[in-house]
Amino acid sequence: MARSPAAEERLRELVTLRRVRDRIDREYHQPLNVEALARDAGMSAGHLSRRFKAAFGESPYSYLMTRRIERAMALLRRGDTSVTDVCFEVGCSSLGTFSTRFAELVGVPPSVYKQRHAEATRGIPPCLAKQVTRPIRNREARAA
């Protein structure tokens, strides 16, 4: 049952990658970038991106942006925050990148999403609206 040194090394790398992913979950609303994540994990940015993608199926940048956009969807549905404020609140520093990635993931730009949602849940009690609009992780919009 003893593991080979190579297998031990592989498990250690996976633990490191898990900690990077958990850190994205915890700190996505801060100005994180892949270089800083890689530096703290003791890897180069390119190596981290390749190994993270091999382990989790998407790059750390993509995972970070997915987390941000999930949170942005929730804030936009609440209806009391502008698209620009939401963009900065979830840790994005570029409105253009935020809107592009949002549209890729959700299917519509954030402004349209906010507007549609305001219409979709008008008249529904807030507690019920919360339930039916709960974001589902990693479910990207289907291609139109």
Partner: protein, 136 residues
Amino acid sequence: MNVTIHSAMLPQDDPEAALRFYRDGLGFEVRMDVEYQGLHWITVGPVGQPETSIVLYPPEATPGLTEDERRMVAEMMAKGTFASINLAADDLDAVFARLEASGAEVVQEPTQQPYGLRDCAFRDPAGNLVRIQQRD
């Protein structure tokens, strides 16, 4: 008919580290620690709730696993995708503070979720996701 949830199984790969998390961090009592050939099956649970336990088990001892499957389980635990559990607490912030002070890996600070509940999340030392929500 009255069926209760008696025990849930969570894998562990370091008995000492598991005890530090569940006993010292979370405050669970240790109900049993069965050792066989250096492997440990540790039964823990919340004080005052003897009818519900978590068994921290060594997954490599599962009978019928192929070598590939055993490696796969170890890798999924390492990357944090193998097992998880949801707990609830009267005082979420107190539990969070205690676990954090014990050195546990924080995944999420106490957060009001858009779907209604307030929760936090940790990794246990084996990579299991332990989510704790505020009890109403």
